[in-house]
Structures are given as C-alpha cells and as structure tokens.
C-alpha cells in the first residue's frame, strides 16, 4: 500500500473518498475564482460556517424530539439543514446588501461569528452526544459511501456544467456590470445563479467534507492560480487543475502520514500559493511549466518512495518454527473492549471458552487472527501465558521484549504487537497506528517488522464492534498478504 499509483487506483479501498475529493477540488475553485475576483472571499468562509450551523441545528432538533425522527441517514438530515441554512443565510445577506447599510465585510464577519457561535451552541444542546455531531461536522470525506459519491458527482457535475455553459455571463456580470446591462439588460439572474451554485456546493460539500476543506477548495486554488494566469480562461482552468492537485496530493499525504484530510489539504493549498507567487516572479509561462514539473516530480518521487513491504516470512525461510505469540499491547488511552453485543463473544460463551462476564478486546481479536495466519506460515505458535500465567503483553521495543522473553526462559522466536491508536469513526473507518515485530530471542535480531498507520475503511460495519473486527481482519491481511 501507499504508493501514489496504488492510492489513485480504482481498486483502492478509499478510492471513492479520493474521487469525491477530486470532484470537489475540480469544481469548487471555479466558483471560488469568482468569489476571489469579485472580492467576496469572506463569503466563501461565512457560507460554509452557516451551513455547519444548519447541520448542528437539524441534529439538535431531531435529537431533542422537536421534529419527528426520520428514516433517512444522519448525513441526509444534516444535508437538509445545511441547504436550508445556506440559502437562508445567502438570502439574508443578499437582502442586507440590497439595502446597502453598513460594510459588506462587517456583515459577513458578523454572520460568520454568529454561525460559529450557533454551531457550538446547538452541539452543546444536543443530548445525543457531542462527539457524533462533531464527527459529522468535521465532514470526514474518507467515509464517503458509494451513494453519497453519486450524489456528490451529480450535484457538482451539474454545477460544473452550469459554470461552463454560462461562463461568459458570469464573467460579464462580475467584471463590467454596465456592459452586462447594455448587452443583456438588467440580468440579476446571473448574480442569483452564481450564488445559487455557490450555495449548492457549499451546502453539500460541508456535510460531506467539512467547512474547512470546502473553504480551502473554494479559495486557495484560485489564489494560487492568480499570479500565474493572464487570461480568464487559463485562470479558471489553472484554478481547477490546482484544486485537483491539492485534492490528490493532500489525500496522498493524509493517507501516508495519517493526518486529517481537511487541514492537510488546506496546508498544501497555502503552500501552492507561496509557490505560485514565487514562480510568478520568473514569468507566467515558465512559472506554470515549473509548477507542472514540480507536480510531476512529486508524483514520481511518491511512486519511487514505495518501500518494499515485506510480509511475515515463512517459518522455513528463517529455519525456526517455535514462535511465542505475545499478547498485543494496548498503548491507547482506551480499554478497546468490544461491545457486549459482539456476536463472536456469544459464540465463545456457547463453546464454554469464556465466562459470561468476559468481554473480548481488539487485542484479543488481533492475536486470534495472527495465530491462525502464523500457523499457516508453518510456525508452531505457543502462547507465553500458557507456560507462565504471569506473562503479560510484550513491549515492541526490541531490547525490552527480548529481556522479558529471556527472563521468562523462552527461546526461539517471539511475535510482538502494540496498538498505539485505535479510533472507530462513525463506524465507517478505523484510524489505526500499530507496530509489529518478529524477533529472535537468542540474539535479539529483528527478522521482520511492520508499522501500520492509516485509516482503514469499514463500509459494511453496522456497529463499533463490527468495525473493529473488520479492521483487525484488514490489518492481518495486510501483514500477511502485503
């Protein structure tokens, strides 16, 4: 995993999320370009915040029983709130603009502050738990389902078509209103349509990707394209291209470094702006060429950055078959116990293998699966606690693991694992940080090791326990199948 081309391959597990991000990166800058040129960048910041207030408002209403529970998914309800608030906010800002009282920036700043405050208040009021709502507001695009991707493609595709079809009208009304009036009459419809399209992508984008990412996609590619373009068509085209670059490389960095996507993309977008202004000092054509070369170089280097990921070796290959499989160490702040409804636990209970008050943990699941796979590799797997009940989980630090094993008079090989991070997000994916090592106890040689740091999608999971189970399977598959 984790080479550039593997991530952009349609067979990659997170491909729908990548595709969704790319669609947003392609379309948002087209709208954002006009916001930048019309000097209404703050609108691109305020509207996503208003949309976020709409999301938290609808959740609060629903959870507090003020409106009936709907059958639709949480995101669909959030989307409705997002749409309603966005268009109401736009209408109100438009009305105040028409009245012409006060400064436009002041109105937008006040609206931003109000929307930010309301978002937090609605979350605080929500009896259903703030974490769930916060997760939805963060808009984890990584958890994008196929259905949501289709919706995203339809909405953003429609916006893209409208932007292409009416680009002359949008340009004319934005650049020279007097000429627009002379040639096309009083065409308020183009202003309304432009803001309607902006509202649509913001309302849908906020619930699917979060306000930060949407604001980043709206504004940053356009700001980066500006110093490099001297024609409107090349400006719009370059904005979109930079948006896609920001989406792809941001996604790649996010997956590789296990960073949240929104802040990673925004940071990358800001870097592109600095780069673009630096390049613009050379000449537009050379600047664009250098930028393209840099992107190509980054792509190639990330392809070349592929480290040969070794799978757990066969027992025969290392001429040793006895392997002590230590308990997996839990270094997270949580107990990682699976919920009582876990069907695996019921089966174990029925088989009389565990007492009814025993609850299985992620570490247990992981060790069970590891044991099966190691036995398939030809190892004779032994459990340290069967020799001495005082054995607990081994640390993954090689020296410490060897010392513990030697003190317990173990010989041969030991397989140690440590979970440093295990976060189940909205049951759609699990963020994992874990280390595994195969160590020869006698001389302390590390025969194999692996560091896993990524978000593992669990699209078919219906509860937290199922998500953890699916993630464990995926980790073991990755360790043994590469």
């Amino acid at each position: 995993m984790s080479t550039f081309f593997e991530i952009v391959s349609p067979s990659y597990l997170l491909f729908p999320a990548l595709l969704g991000t790319m669609i947003m990166g392609l379309v948002c800058p087209l709208i954002g370009s006009y916001l930048v040129l019309r000097r209404t960048v703050f609108l691109g910041l305020t509207l996503p915040q208003i949309a976020a207030a709409g999301v938290s408002f609808t959740f609060w209403l629903q959870q507090s029983g003020l409106v009936p529970q709907w059958e639709q998914s949480e995101r669909a309800i959030g989307m409705l709130g997002s749409l309603l608030f966005t268009f109401f906010g736009m209408g109100l800002l438009g009305y105040l603009e028409q009245r012409g009282k006060g400064l436009a920036e002041a109105r937008l700043a006040a609206a931003y502050a109000l929307a930010g405050g309301l978002t937090i208040l609605f979350i605080v009021f929500n009896p259903a738990g703030q974490i769930e709502v916060l997760n939805l507001l963060k808009g984890e695009v990584i958890a994008l389902s196929q259905g949501e991707l289709r919706l995203l493609a339809a909405v953003f595709g429609g916006v893209l078509l409208a932007m292409v079809a009416f680009h002359r009208e949008f340009l004319l009304i934005s650049f020279d209103r007097d000429l627009a009036f002379l040639l096309k009459g009083r065409q308020m419809i183009w202003d309304v349509l432009l803001y309607l399209l902006a509202g649509l992508i913001i309302a849908f984008g906020v619930i699917l990707a979060g306000p930060l990412l949407i604001f980043g996609f709206l504004v940053l590619p356009a700001l980066a394209a500006k110093p490099l373009a001297n024609r409107m068509t090349s400006f719009l085209l370059l904005s979109s291209v930079l948006g896609v670059i920001m989406a792809v490389f941001g996604f790649y960095s996010s997956v590789r470094l296990d960073l949240p996507l929104g802040p990673t993309d925004v940071t990358l977008g800001c870097f592109l702006i600095f780069l673009a202004y630096g390049l613009s000092r050379i000449s537009t054509r050379i600047g664009v060429t250098v930028l393209a070369l840099l992107c190509a170089a980054a792509t190639l280097s990330s392809c070349g950055a592929k480290t040969t990921v070794a799978t757990v070796p066969e027992a025969k290959a290392i001429h040793d078959e006895q392997l002590w499989l230590a308990k997996v160490k839990n270094s997270t702040a949580s107990t990682l116990l699976l919920p009582a409804i876990n069907p695996l636990r019921s089966l174990a209970e029925m088989a009389g293998k565990v007492s009814s008050d025993y609850r299985q943990s992620v570490m247990d699941l992981l060790r069970d699966d590891l044991k099966i796979e190691l036995e398939h590799r030809g190892f004779r797997v032994l459990l340290p606690e069967e020799k001495d009940a005082r054995f607990v989980a081994f640390p993954t630090d090689t020296g410490a693991a060897v010392r513990v094993a030697r003190e317990g008079k173990l010989s041969g090989l030991t397989f140690v694992g440590e979970i440093r991070r295990w976060e189940v997000e909205a049951q759609k994916f699990v963020r994992v940080l874990a280390d595994f090592k195969l160590i020869r106890i006698d001389d302390g040689t590390v025969l194999w090791e692996r560091h896993i740091q990524r978000a593992i999608p669990t699209p078919s999971a219906t509860n937290v326990g199922q998500a953890s189970t699916d993630a464990v399977r995926e980790i073991v598959r990755e360790l043994f199948a590469g």
């Binding site: 079809a165 002359r168 650049f175 002379l182 040639l183 409107m232």
Partner: protein
C-alpha cells in the same frame, strides 16, 4: 457663444443643415439628473443624431459621467424626458479604464470579445467570425499586435484603445466615451481622435465623448456641450468653425 439649455443649439439638426436627418438616436428634454433626489445637472436638453461628433467638456465632478449613465439607462432620471431611438445594445460604451477592476486576469482578446456577448448565446462556442471581427476592430484602433497581451499590463492609451475596440465589437449606432483622451500618451490621443472622426464621417456613427480638457474637446469635436456647476450649455466645435 453661450446659450444655456438650448435644445435647438445643442445638437439640433438645423445647425448642421441636415433637415432630412432621421429621428435623434437620443434626446433629452428638460432632464434633471442626480443621485438620491440630489440634482447634479438640471434642465438638460440634448439631441444626438447619427454622424454627430459631440464633445462634452467640464471639470471633474461636474456631472459628465452622470449624464452618460443616464443616457445609457444605468441611472434613472429625476425629471424631464429621455428617449432613445435605438436599443441599449446599440450603444458602445467606453468607460474610464480606471473604473475596471485590475483583479481580473483578462487578455486583450477576452476584453474585446465581451463586446459580442450580446449576440452569442450561453453555452454556445464563441463563433469564429466573432473572433475574426475582434481582430478587425483591434486593427481599426491600431493594436492588433497586442491581442494576446494582458489587458491590465497595457499603458493607459493602449487600454483606452482596447476599450474602444470592445465598444466597436458591439456594432453600435452610437458610441459613448467617458474621458477617452485623459491620461493617454500623445500617439494614442491622436489615434483615438482619428478613430472617432473616422467613425462619424465614414461609418455614420454618433459619437459622444467627454473630457475635462476643453482644448482637447475643441480640437476633436464637431460640436461641444459644456457642463459646470449643474448647468449645461453649447459651444461650437472644430468642424463648425472650420466649415
């Protein structure tokens, strides 16, 4: 020479001996102009016919742009009557280049092509013949070689000529130019003046331009109206004198 608010003298057909002229393209009768009910110009009487080369002279802030905006329908009049005998899409408007936002990354070609937007449908690919025409109008103002340049990187005179080309792209019956000769180099000034004269004489267009420089207006315009302190009156221009 001076005669305030005199429709017969300000742009009347009689003065030019063109009794058979068609209806005026634009006529204003006792028009009051201003903002928020505050009059900037009062009792304006004016008629512009095809082939007229009108100069509007007056100091900054005297209401020249206000008059233009009213003629173009961009500003409602406070009183009197204003009539146009051609549609607004027949007006070629050349604003002051400083009024355009330099934030927009636009090439000369893109600016000029805007003049054809009224004839091109949305979602339609920009027609080849319109692109060709854009080259021709740039030829008319002598700057076809700048077609690929960034508009806002041009000099004041070059920008002004691009905006005139854009107005010509509209295929207008009347051209309204707001301070086209201000802040431009001598060569551009000569070219612009020549273009304006040629448009009226050869193409029969009506041209109405403004300037705060009376001498400049006198050198170019056939007939002159002056505005100052809320009043408007006519003076004879170059050609009248030369005739």
């Amino acid at each position: 020479m001076k005669s305030e608010h005199d429709l017969d003298k300000v742009g009347s057909a009689g003065e030019r001996g063109l009794k058979t002229d068609p209806l005026p393209l634009v006529s204003l009768h006792n028009v009051n102009l201003g903002y928020d009910s505050q009059a900037v110009l009062q009792s304006v009487n004016l008629a512009i016919y095809p082939g007229d080369l009108f100069g509007l002279a007056g100091p900054n802030g005297s209401g020249k742009t206000t008059l233009f905006r009213a003629i173009l329908g961009l500003l409602p009049i406070l009183g009197g009557s204003l009539s146009r005998n051609c549609s607004l899409s027949n007006f070629g408007y050349v604003p002051q280049s400083a009024a355009l936002d330099p934030q927009f990354p636009l090439s000369v070609a893109e600016i000029v092509e805007m003049g054809a937007y009224g004839r091109v449908r949305s979602y339609q690919v920009f027609p080849k013949e319109e692109k060709q025409r854009a080259g021709e109008v740039l030829d008319q103002v002598g700057i076809r070689h700048l077609i690929k340049r960034s508009f806002f990187s041009l000099s004041g005179g070059q920008k002004q000529r691009v905006l005139i080309a854009r107005a010509l792209m509209v295929m207008p019956k009347i051209m309204i130019l707001d301070e086209p000769l201000s802040g431009v180099d001598e060569e551009s000034r000569r070219t612009i003046a020549d273009v304006l004269i040629k448009l009226t004489r050869e193409d029969g267009l009506a041209v109405f331009f403004s300037s705060h420089d009376l001498t400049m207006v006198q050198r170019v315009a056939d007939r002159i109206v002056r505005v100052d302190k809320g009043k408007m009156w006519s003076e004879e221009g170059k050609t009248s004198v030369q005739r």
